[in-house]
Subunit: 344 residues, 2 copies
């Protein structure tokens, strides 16, 4: 099969790889139908040291089950399935608590001999727990939105859930990338009354408005904080979803949060330390969030995607074939593209 | 009247001050019956720059209402009342959310022309919202435990509540000071199954065991983390209440918390930055807590104190009169005394 492999910063190649086969009786081989490039793929694209062996890329995909291991019972050959972006047994104590991202038998696509999702086929470990059967055909127009359940929508939803968004809340979403926009959609879905989107790419913030943002703040840093406070009657936002991951955006979050409010982080932090001193204590601010246990949310979000209540697939503004994936990385890294869909 | 005034590090004096009078129609003057010294009073005792004017000390007291302002309706002369350690109107939007520590008309004893609690009388601003009438006589043996509702018990309870302690949880309390011990009591009250108390003063940890601690860990740092993990089946504690405030104890908390767990901080941080990088995100750790809105908890905890279910007043291991307050500071600072009760 062919798959996208990263050999270092700026160096993604599509090349031949061995076809996946069943290794463990809990494995399933999935023939990929749709995949995509994640914002988090851009961090190694910017910084990965050059390597001879390369790393299979991609962790979001849906496809058709091609072969199942002898222990697999929930999924059968021919099923259309979507995966969360980490695999998991969905039965261990962490999974039962809804923290599939910490599954005792889980792991990441592209690591430890497991294929990436940006390729023609994938061996999925712990597939009974990982994969969710989709009740549509492989040519359904809903497929991009169903693919979004693999990561981006489940991640935005995790931000809204851990931030504690409730009806009537004033929510700030920092970052107009695909995760930030999904967080807007999730906050709207959970009943937020005011959703301020902080971002400066008008094509993206326009989509954010369609997703439910009531206000857009283009300013950053102290100016951005002042603008958010102005929009929230001086007090700051009740809930903040930080979907960038820089130290500057973290500082912005602490500046724009109301006393007693919650900041949920979704972006992978590009810093080691943060401002958790006396101010955070005096104002009773909570810092939460993290890697989404996307598997926990698929069944919850699926009905709203199927019924069209939410259309998270609108974050895909480019569609490529596998050979164009290197260019898709470049386009996303240059911010010409929000999120690239890969049609296999 | 006479009151304790701090003039700088190590310099607490008991001296004459003007008798408090009603200034605002919402004020009440309370004749103090019991007060005490707080662990947080020791921070200025260690570090306050010398001053000519001094600062009235103390923020925990109960006493008899001596005079009420014209707008005061809930409290009448002769009532025995307890105060939370910050005053508040208990009607603003923050108070209604249970965040009386951020009250729009609230403030701190000993600041802004308001008396401290370590004196013979106190003018209490916003007294209708602040003061809670106690249904006992001024000679009740319950008075020390009722005084504990002013701060230390409400603070320990805030730690347990914000940490999300639920029945069956494995809880770690870091610090065997009066707040840590109160947090043990609070965690037990909320149904924690295992309560590990980290501290090395056996007289204090012995009281901690009586309060509900199931295990005591004397080790600190990496050894302490290893011991907590050993006691929790390798995974770490579900909830951690950090009641010290040093960077070392914060790092210990991050090392000893389970994936998906919550760390609640009660200690005033003696640091500006903390380890909130990728590990916190990958493991979905929540950092919360802060200054307790003690007013929010008095009615909830009062019945359990009155019935003897909890006896938080046991943290007082020294009783002094007002003139002995300077020595009480010294004894607490030297760790010869856990928490000093002041009988007026």
């Amino acid at each position: 099969m062919r798959a996208a492999i990263m050999y270092g910063a700026g160096d993604v190649r599509v090349e031949d790889r061995p076809d996946p086969t069943i290794v463990q009786p809990t494995d399933t081989v999935v023939r990929t139908v749709l995949s995509c490039v994640c914002g988090s793929d851009l961090w190694p694209y910017k910084s990965m040291p050059a390597t001879d062996t390369g790393r299979p890329m991609g962790h979001e995909f849906l496809g058709i089950v091609e072969e199942t291991g002898s222990d697999v019972t929930h999924i059968k050959v021919g099923d259309l399935v979507v995966t969360p972006f980490t695999y998991c047994d969905n039965t261990c104590d962490y999974c039962k608590k809804g923290l599939q991202s910490s599954c005792r038998h889980g792991g990441r696509y592209g690591w430890d001999g497991v294929d990436g999702g940006q390729g023609e086929a994938v061996r999925v470990p712990q597939s009974d727990g990982t994969l969710v059967k989709l009740p549509v055909d492989a040519d359904s127009e809903l497929l991009p939105s169903l693919l979004a359940l693999s990561d981006v929508m489940g991640t935005g939803h995790h931000g809204a859930v851990t931030a504690g968004v409730r009806p009537g809340d004033r929510v700030l979403v920092i970052g107009d990338g695909a995760v930030g926009l999904s967080a807007v959609l999730a906050a709207k879905r959970l009943g937020a009354e005011q959703i301020i989107l902080m971002g400066r790419h008008t094509d993206r913030t326009d989509l954010g408005r369609e997703f439910g943002a009531t206000d857009v703040v283009a300013e950053r840093g102290n100016e951005g904080i002042a603008r958010v406070r102005e929009l929230t009657g001086g007090d700051g936002a009740d809930r903040i979803i930080e979907a960038v991951g820089s130290r500057q955006t973290l500082d912005t979050a602490f500046g724009a949060i109301i006393d007693g409010g919650t900041i949920s982080r979704l972006g992978v932090p590009q810093y080691m330390e943060g401002p958790v001193g006396a101010d955070m204590i005096m104002r009773n601010i909570t810092l939460t969030g993290g890697v989404s246990p996307a598997r926990a949310y698929i069944e919850e979000l699926l009905p709203d995607v199927l019924s069209g209540v939410i259309n998270p697939g609108r974050v895909f503004d480019q569609t490529v074939v596998l050979d164009e994936v290197p260019q898709a990385y470049k386009d996303m890294n240059d911010r010409r593209v929000l999120k690239a869909l890969i049609r296999l």
